[in-house]
Symmetry: C2
Amino acid sequence: MKRTIILYGLALALFVSGLKFLEYRFFVRDLSIEFYISIIVVTFTGLGIWVGLRLTRKKFVFVGGDFKQDANALQRLDITKREYEVLELIAQGLSNKEIADKLFVSLNTIKTHSSNLFLKLEVSRRTQAVQKAKNLRLIP
Amino acid sequence: MKRTIILYGLALALFVSGLKFLEYRFFVRDLSIEFYISIIVVTFTGLGIWVGLRLTRKKFVFVGGDFKQDANALQRLDITKREYEVLELIAQGLSNKEIADKLFVSLNTIKTHSSNLFLKLEVSRRTQAVQKAKNLRLIP
DNA sequence: AGTTAAATCATCCTTTTGGGTGATGATTTT
DNA sequence: AAAATCATCACCCAAAAGGATGATTTAACT
């Protein structure tokens, strides 16, 4: 944005110089004055468009940016690290058995974690858990 | 976009009128010429910014806009209307029984539809189905 | 009229999920 | 050191989900 201001300032300086130049041109009455005005107008229109594009480009990037986790919600719900890990893998579509294998623990452990997780999220099944977790910005 | 073009055309017409006006102003050598040029330049810069904003606003709305279903994927996968309805409700976190009640059919019917759906989506369980359907832009 | 596709339903069976209860060990907090 | 928390695990049971097989009805297409 700083760069935009600097460049626009340069354009303004050019503009002021252009006006001084026109002041000299008045000694020679000439229709080509309109030509210079056209150039200046087109230049500044172009610059305006460019500024407009830059103003929104930042916002555009921001909208399309990376997932930002709501750490407050995570803390408020008192979800432990392990529970969160299980949640992530549930969201990836893994079965309990698959999750147990991936985390090198027993199936019982996963069931325990997911049960506790469901309690904290106040849901009855994994589909609800995933949906709620996305809504609360716990997972992407 | 059409409106942008029309408005910009109007500005151009104003510009041309402005030039003619300047032509008259040459009979009275006056420093206020610079004043008129300034107005014209500022006007067109503003218009340029506006055009720039409009050019990206469309994209911006599109990104932040409502869900747009990929009907091609839906057709390609050969998912029937009823199957899609079941998918939607699965994604909302409903159990098969709940879905059956909502659609006034038997549990068996829902199991049939979801089985067929899973085949078409090439998944093994509802969490995978929901995830894949979102990735394919079948559901929001 | 015959064929096809979609929707509906049933039955059987297996697997998976989820709730409850209880326990132990490790780590963190008081 | 004691208490609390977290992770892990087991067992029991019921509910839910999922796969397979088969059938009927309806609507659309040839």
